[in-house]
């Protein structure tokens, strides 16, 4: 499988990593995600990695990068379904993925995204009201 699908769900994008990505696929995904966020004007990105069993430093950095990119584009991102082994590996590699937000599963991830988006809209409407 060359192409990792990016699905639009409501005002969010859902990226589901079904296989262990190689570096090339990861780079393609990063590009596609960037263009899709801009094209669909998505307010949030949900990255589901529950099927990923193996992670290396590159993959860890990719996750961090994707979170940063979506933030720059004005969207929130949540990584969901990380497996215990993957979490332990990332911690032991010393990758401080403090920038990414996480949730247990897609359901909770969606809820988290919704609250983040609501908060952002509330704040912005509040600001305009004050002006």
């Amino acid at each position: 499988m060359d192409h990792i699908p990016i699905n639009k769900v409501g005002e969010f994008l859902l990226v589901s990593l079904q296989v262990d990505m190689d570096d090339h696929q990861a780079l393609i995904l990063q590009n596609n995600l960037t263009t899709q966020v801009v094209k669909t004007r998505a307010k949030g990105v949900l990255i589901d990695i529950s099927s990923v069993d193996i992670v290396d430093s590159f993959m860890g950095r990719m996750l961090g990068n994707m979170a940063s990119i979506t933030r720059v584009l004005g969207a929130n991102s949540v990584v969901v379904g990380m497996q215990p082994a993957v979490a332990i590996t990332i911690v032991e590699l010393g990758l401080s993925l403090t920038t990414i937000k996480t949730a247990l599963n897609v359901d909770k991830g969606m809820a988290l995204l919704q609250t983040l988006v609501n908060k952002a809209t509330n704040e912005s409407s509040h600001e305009s009201f004050e002006r």
């Binding site: 497996q83 215990p84 979490a87 332990i88 911690v91 996480t102 949730a103 247990l104």
Partner: protein, 290 residues
């Protein structure tokens, strides 16, 4: 030594097998008087008879003072079994070695009897050979005994590791892990895996790590705890560390140990209250107020 001498001992054994067995049993029983509760006389008799039955052909065939030769294989295997079972039953090493050493007395008295007519250097030689052989066998039992003990200790350590890290479901979505005893890297690893696995299987978004039972918290232990909290956070669950006793809190501040932005609470109750607040559960008392 020459085959001649070893044949003499073997001969004595063959000829006086029954009386030697009786004497030997009496010796063993005298030495083990306190341990009648651990092994019955009938069992002891059976073991001794079997050992003697293996011992005699080995004596006859084998190189008398070298127990590493294949002729002694059966005897050594049987002794290993005895030592191992005694270690499990709770005998002491010296009590186990007595099994072999108590054979000396009956054998020596028979030898003395045999040579009573012509007391010469032959008796001394025979005695020396028999002593060397029995000492070697005795030491062998002690060695096997020690090994079995170590195996038992190792197995118990592993069992303790599993026992000592239970993950409890306190509420829908709230897990608790009471840690008892010192935290080293091996245990932390087990704890970490247990917590993370339980987070997945129960779908809990809060996990409380209670360190009331951890005797001291130094920089290393705190690093282990922090790693666990970080890993849980990556999976989408929040960890609270609770049960920090006053003296631990003091020691931590003196050592400069910090838990970063991890939520810490004094008691498990406080941590549970915080978890409820986070997942939006309100607890009210139904007791009537005066």
């Amino acid at each position: 030594m020459t085959t001649n001498t070893s044949n003499r001992v073997a001969e004595i054994f063959t000829r006086y097998e029954q009386p030697i067995l009786e004497d030997w049993l009496r010796e063993q029983l005298a030495a083990l008087t306190a341990r009648q509760d651990l092994i019955s006389e009938a069992d002891l008799r059976r073991q001794s008879a079997e050992l003697l039955a293996l011992f005699i052909p080995a004596c006859r065939a084998g190189n008398f003072t070298d127990i590493t030769t294949p002729d002694w294989k059966a005897v050594l295997a049987f002794l290993s079994n005895i030592s191992r079972s005694r270690a499990l039953q709770g005998f002491s090493p010296s009590e186990t070695a007595t099994v072999v050493f108590s054979l000396k007395q009956p054998l020596f008295s028979r030898l003395r009897q045999e040579f009573s007519a012509n007391v010469d250097t032959a008796l001394a030689d025979e005695l020396w050979n028999a002593t060397v052989l029995l000492d070697k066998l005795g030491l062998y039992t002690t060695e096997v005994f020690q090994k079995s003990r170590e195996e038992i200790i190792k197995r118990q350590q592993e069992e303790m590791l599993e026992l000592s890290t239970p993950v409890i479901k306190l509420w829908e979505g709230v897990l608790a892990v009471p840690l008892v005893g010192m935290l080293d890297s091996v245990r932390t690893r087990v704890v970490m895996e247990n917590i993370l696995q339980s987070i997945i299987s129960t779908g809990s978004s809060m996990a409380i790590i209670d360190i009331t039972g951890v005797p001291n918290v130094d920089t290393q232990v705190s690093q282990h705890l922090l790693n666990t909290v970080l890993a849980a956070k990556l999976m989408g669950a929040q960890c609270i560390i609770s049960g920090i006793r006053p003296e631990i809190a003091l020691a931590m501040v003196h050592l400069g140990v910090e838990f970063g932005d991890v939520v810490t609470k004094a008691t498990l109750a406080d941590a549970l209250a915080y978890a409820f607040l986070k997942i939006g559960i309100v607890v009210t008392s139904t007791a009537l107020h005066a």
